[in-house]
Amino acid sequence: MPQIKTKKIISNTIIYIILTVLGFFFLLPFFWMLSTSLKTDQQLFVFPQVWIPNPIQWSNYAGAVTTIPFFRYMLNTFFVAFMDVLGTVIACPLVAYGLSRIEWKGREILFFLTISVMMIPQEVTMIPQFIMFSKAGLVGTYVPLFIASFFGGRPFMIFLLRQFFVGLPKDLEDAARIDGASEFRIYRSVILPLVVPGILTVGLFRFMNSWNDFLGPLLYLNNESTYTLSIGLQMFTTQYQTEWAMLMAASLLVALPVIVMYFFVQKRFIQGITFTGIKG
């Protein structure tokens, strides 16, 4: 019916306009980064600012990946992030399930404890944790950077997944329970498939977090060949000077893998409900 169609076109156009305007502001700093990454030294400091670099110095990117052992660091960072995500997506959903779909005494206390540990800034727990790992002989390895994930030690993610779990209808498991299925079976076959967007989100966030983590590698790694990208980026800032153009180039390259990953993850979110309630 033509009436509904025009309504849809109007609402879609409005949405596009708003998104474009907002999106422009959101991307603005990113454009500036891109522009700076291609500038020559002379254009970095001019006033008023130059938006489009002229000449365009692509060699800043070459410099960015050769000044520091960029690809070695990228590999290291990827390893740590992968392990972190692995541990998280295995352990956290289990814990979140236990905190939401099973009625047991002590559940709420544990949940509240989970939230409570997030309230202490890590600046004061990091030194005792470091001493612990040091006594265990794990300083200098990657283990301290991801081992907590395998214990579900990511309270932010537990909390998030728990919220996804409780958003599901209460009686979902009842039929399966009556049939006598094991709780784990129910977890795996009934509930888990329904929170795939949640798990993808958690995986993405942990990847991002681990990828950009600075404090962890700062403390635990002291062999230059094992450093991660976040430390590598610091190397562009010496005591008094900063290689601005190369730093921006390197920063963009560091962000790229996560941007690509995110693009593919959000595709899974494609089942959107349009504003007018009609699936498009």
Binding site: L22, L94, I120, V124, F164, P197, L204, G280
Partner: protein, 303 residues
């Protein structure tokens, strides 16, 4: 009589069974808590009663650190700064996050591109973010003031005045709500289209559908964003630290709680003092969280 006893036994049996299951599923985290948190947390409480400096175990000072804090003008200022920032930033980010997520939750062409656009800011390394925003908000020739001047507004000293500096940071923080948007998007996925179809049959309009279906069903996720947003705002540190080199300029208007904590811990070698700060912060956040939890029963809908 016998029937009631039977019922009780069965119920106790189920409770015990569920308890075992509950512990089993959450076992990794229970172990994690014990291994990774018990010792550090107890250590840091102990340190708060000493003159611990990391380099040296110091000596016991009892409640002196806590007493000194309440006479520390900069500490009190950092509390004010942080409260101000949190009060502004959290509501703005929640609302903005929902609006943008709703817009992005449409299966329109290029929506994937737009979804990525709003997420990109969170991926930019902090040092780059700080530099970019310093330039954009520069009072003399920043982009922001150039745009405003086209509308006839005289230049605002964004990062140079104590009045505007925190507002500038609220703006920068809003720019970084990509994560909250993604979380909202994820939550929106789980809302079954059946509800909307039923509402359409009843002839509901967009606003009614948003406020009667979407928001209530999204509320568990919104609740998450509120708690996380609040904790994040209270612990806000990395960006202002990078922006001001840890100095909170102008005039300590950007000295946030955790920034002052960090400076004490690693700059002035007063980790004991910093630990006391950490636990005071813990109490503040705890109280607020309990309040939010209690009120959540009213507006968070679990199915």
């Amino acid at each position: 009589m016998k029937l009631n006893m039977e019922k009780l036994k069965i119920r106790k049996g189920i409770e015990a069974h569920n308890f075992k299951l509950g512990i089993l599923f959450t076992l990794p985290w229970i172990l994690g808590l014990v291994i990774f948190y018990v010792y550090p947390l107890i250590s840091s409480i102990y340190y708060s009663f000493t003159s611990y400096s990391i380099l040296n175990s110091g000596h016991f000072v009892g409640l002196q650190n806590y007493k000194d804090l309440f006479h520390d003008a900069l500490f009190l200022k950092s509390v004010k700064n942080t409260l101000y920032f949190t009060a502004l930033s959290v509501p703005i980010n929640i609302i903005l996050g929902i609006i943008i997520a709703l817009l992005l939750n449409n299966a329109l062409k290029f929506i994937g591109f737009f979804r990525t656009v709003f997420f990109i800011p969170t991926l930019v390394p902090v040092v780059a973010t700080a530099t970019v925003w310093k330039w954009i908000l520069n009072s003399n020739y920043g982009l922001m003031n150039s745009i405003l001047s086209k509308f006839g507004i005289s230049p605002i000293p964004w990062l140079a005045s104590t009045k505007w500096s925190k507002i500038s940071l609220v703006m920068i923080a809003a720019w970084g709500i990509g994560q909250a948007i993604v979380v909202n998007l994820g939550g929106l996925q789980d809302i079954s289209s059946e509800y909307y179809e039923a509402a359409d049959i009843d002839g509901a309009n967009v606003f009614q559908k948003t406020f009667k279906i979407t928001i209530p069903l999204l509320s568990p996720v919104i609740f998450y964003n509120v708690i996380m947003g609040m904790i994040g705002a209270f612990q806000y540190f990395t960006l202002p630290y990078t922006l001001t080199g840890g100095e909170g300029t102008p005039n300590n208007s950007l000295t946030f709680y955790v920034m002052y904590l960090y400076n004490n811990a690693f700059g002035y070698l007063k980790m004991g003092y910093a630990s006391a700060m950490a636990w005071i912060l813990f109490v503040i956040i705890l109280v607020l969280t309990v309040v939010i939890f209690k009120t959540s029963k009213k507006w968070v809908h679990y199915q």
